[in-house]
Symmetry: C2
């Protein structure tokens, strides 16, 4: 079936125009300084508060190896509670790199993480898939593969995060094998593994190693993929997350530590309080990982948003969340750590509400100096659904953010005094040579915007943005061509998956 699909895509691409013209693959670098909502004293205050949480209240580490490491390093360990002094934390942070690269099998897809670099990933981990034709349903492998294809297709999506939708039709014990196989063959971009059990993580490491065609020793030489762990806020790191994080750090692979600090629920209702707790929880795990392997690449994650206080439901893309992200950016720079944020929204449908929330999230990432934008494309419903239409819309909006980041030139040619003189007070610039020579390149060309006038648009059936997006994702999937990959590596991957399936996969009782 895969072969037939490929043939059909080829046939289409020979006869039809491509679904859309997009920006080239690019690793963008922030042109502007971030917005800093609090003063240097304010940053110090958050830092001191976070240090008090670590020193006086402590964080629970539900993993015996983590407790042993931290005890050996001189932390105060009482049961699962660990109190760490600020001197220890700040000392450990010294070995965490400000910037690092992740190099997958295809070195053209290597990412730089940190500094003024920023990258976007696809939506991660929704249980449901949705589109406007079929509505919302539990995710399955076909949806999972489709979202990976969209992830691979769009140049503005730099990495494949967690499962873009949960492939619920795959048995859990072997799901990771099929899912990782799909991720490593349907896209050549940097991928992620969940930290949800030792076997799963070790299988992921092995499969990425195979895809890269390197030995164990070569694998450890540089970051190849990554994991993301969430603290179980408040103040707790669970066993599977710690286990996976320590395994990846031990192999020199990056770990993003993202506390799940919804203000008013798992964290204080005040944004500064939630960011304080977020900072403490993130630094606690980061300090541990620097003990496990000094220099291990890490990212500070920021997920702080507020809940709707009428219902307790998480809200996203709120004014408070934008500020929390900007403050998180200040904290990340204070600690010289890369920062993760996300493109999230609460809306249930890709309408004005969801898009406004998304725009706030994207502007929050842009103005906070976020390095890794998780859930960049496809997120809907507070993360409970991956939306095909939203994926396409988000890529349009991300491209716009990247075009914005291109900045504005002020050379003599840009200032165009000669063109103004040439056209004069009665003319029009369409015909000017200055215009004609820049005609097709000066502006970002949105692929999704309907710029027809009202009458033409109305006669065409008054299509909404999500209807245009609906047409586009179908075209893209129809055109899809998987990335080239080493056939030896592919065969080895197939063999590995088959063997591990025969062995039963991963235990499901973690």
């Amino acid at each position: 079936m895969r072969r037939a699909n490929r043939l059909s895509a080829r046939r289409k691409s020979a006869t039809a125009a491509p679904a859309l013209v997009q920006r080239d693959w690019q690793l963008p670098v922030y042109r502007d300084d971030p917005i800093e909502p609090v003063s240097h004293e304010g940053v110090e205050a958050v830092h001191n508060a976070a240090m008090r949480v670590l020193e006086e209240i402590g964080i629970e580490f539900l993993h015996e190896d983590a407790l042993a490491v931290l005890k050996r390093e001189g932390c105060k360990v009482e049961g699962e509670n660990v109190k760490m002094g600020r001197d220890f934390v700040m000392e450990k942070l010294k070995s965490a790199p400000e910037t690092f690269t992740i190099t997958p099998a295809n070195p053209d897809r290597a990412l730089t993480i940190g500094g003024r670099h920023f990258v976007y990933g696809n939506v991660s981990s929704p249980p449901n898939a949705t589109d406007i034709d079929r509505g919302r349903r539990m995710g399955n492998r076909e949806d999972f593969q489709n979202f990976l294809k969209l992830t691979h297709y769009f140049n503005c999506i730099h990495f494949a995060g967690g499962y873009p939708v949960e492939p619920v039709d795959l048995h859990f014990s072997t799901r990771h094998l099929d899912a990782l196989y799909d991720k490593l063959t349907l896209t050549d971009k940097v991928i992620h593994t969940y930290s949800l059990g030792t076997v799963l993580v070790e299988d992921a490491i092995e499969m990425v190693r195979i895809s890269c065609g390197v030995s164990d020793e070569e694998f450890d030489e540089k970051p190849r993929f990554y994991t993301n762990i969430n603290s179980s806020s408040p103040l707790k790191h669970d066993w599977p997350m710690l286990d996976g994080a320590m395994r990846l750090a031990g192999r020199n692979q990056p770990v993003i530590v993202t506390p799940f600090t919804l203000a008013g629920a798992m964290a204080p209702i005040t944004m500064a309080g939630a960011v304080t707790q977020q900072t403490a929880e993130a630094l606690a795990a980061i300090a541990l990982l620097q003990c496990v392997r000094p220099g291990a690449p890490v990212v500070m994650g920021a997920y702080t948003s507020n809940v709707d206080m009428k219902t307790g439901a998480p809200a996203f893309g709120t004014p408070e969340a934008v500020r929390a992200m900007q403050l998180s950016g200040q904290m990340a720079r204070f600690y010289k750590l890369p920062l993760r944020a996300q493109n999230s929204c609460a809306g249930n449908f890709p309408d004005g509400q969801a898009i406004a929330e998304t725009m706030n999230s994207l502007w929050a990432a842009m103005t906070s100096g976020t390095n890794v934008v998780y859930h960049g494309a496809g997120w809907l419903e507070g993360g409970l659904a991956a939306s095909y239409e939203k994926f396409v819309i988000d890529c349009e909006l991300i491209q716009q953010m990247m075009a914005y980041n291109d900045g504005i030139g002020v050379t003599d040619e840009d200032l165009a005094v000669d063109a103004i003189a040439e056209v004069g007070p009665t003319g029009h610039f369409f015909g000017a040579e200055h215009t004609q020579s820049r005609y097709s390149t000066e502006f970002y060309q949105p692929f999704l915007s309907d710029i027809r006038n009202f009458e033409t648009w109305d006669e065409a059936g008054a299509p909404k943005q999500y209807e245009h997006a609906n047409r586009l994702w179908k075209q893209i999937l129809g055109e899809f061509e998987p990335p080239k990959m080493d056939e030896g590596a592919r065969a080895e991957l197939v063999e590995f998956v088959e063997r591990r399936k025969r062995e039963g996969g991963a235990p499901t009782n973690f």
Copy 2:
């Protein structure tokens, strides 16, 4: 009918909950420094280019009085072309105030314009009205009044700009009399007059004077209302605009000068070139107005956006437009002038596209330090339609921008270490006293967001944002109560309108 409406509104408000809970009236002040896309040298380069346009190319002033004034001041006048030296321009700018107030009849509605203040106005000048029930049609007085009622209702809308929709059913010669009467009675916020003819402008001045209950002399003591003029780009100021601007400046009333510099059409295709031309056109008129009355309150308008180069249609809310606005902000601060921008979009329907464009426009205003945000609520279709639903949506988004601008506190109470200690690693913050005491005030409460979970939302018919907005504007209009006003002033206004109608109103052949 007006009376019946009022009674019905009262009856409703006695029995039903209000349509929505909104933020209080507030004159916000920017908390953050603006984003500055070009260096100080870049600003100097744009300045020098604008000065070269003024010195070497010149601006056409299609008004004999303007030409006479500028000739007397030493400018080089050839026919309608005026070349002004940079020394002259910079000297004249010295008398333009950095900040001023506009005080309408109700002093509680006084606005501060300039510095770090910012205010939002309603949509201005679309020929069409639209809502999702009745679709798009030519504007009429009922729509005009309805949009004024929405303007008055929403505290986040600080002023009433041009006609929120053109009341086409009113005869042009007397339209301004009815329209100004409606503006002065359906809202007590600062209003605008068009500069579309001497009689119209003089009638407007007189009606505002009557509404304020002041003598001619008292009227001139301070700004009471304002006008906005557009240059006829490239490089031209038309007679009616100049006439109205000079009349208002002569009476100490503010003039916003907004070049209509769409890059690639009426201005160079490069954003820096378009802003150069915009700057030259705006400064030319501002210098004139400072000659007419030194110290006359003026605002530099920035409308620069790009066109879609495939169709020539204006595009709004583009990445380039955001940068143009930020550069315009840099120029306005360089000249120590207040800045006007707008909340514009190209979309034909309040769907994701229009809202994304709107969000870019609002973030552009926020990050450029814009002082006056024109077309804040209700703009659709590149300004060709005023949308009832978009008006409500925009007010939600503007409230969010204002909530964002509230910033983030970092007091010990905000940092909440005690609350974190109290809740500990197994608790939940809902029940904490720190949460409970801030429960209803800590977060901005959106009035338009549907935060129900998918199932509940779906069972409720899966309403879109614009459907919620549709319900709200009807409730608001049903509840509407006009502002209190001095009955003597009202009677005098009625008498003035009737007299001027008997006299025939304004000539229509300007």
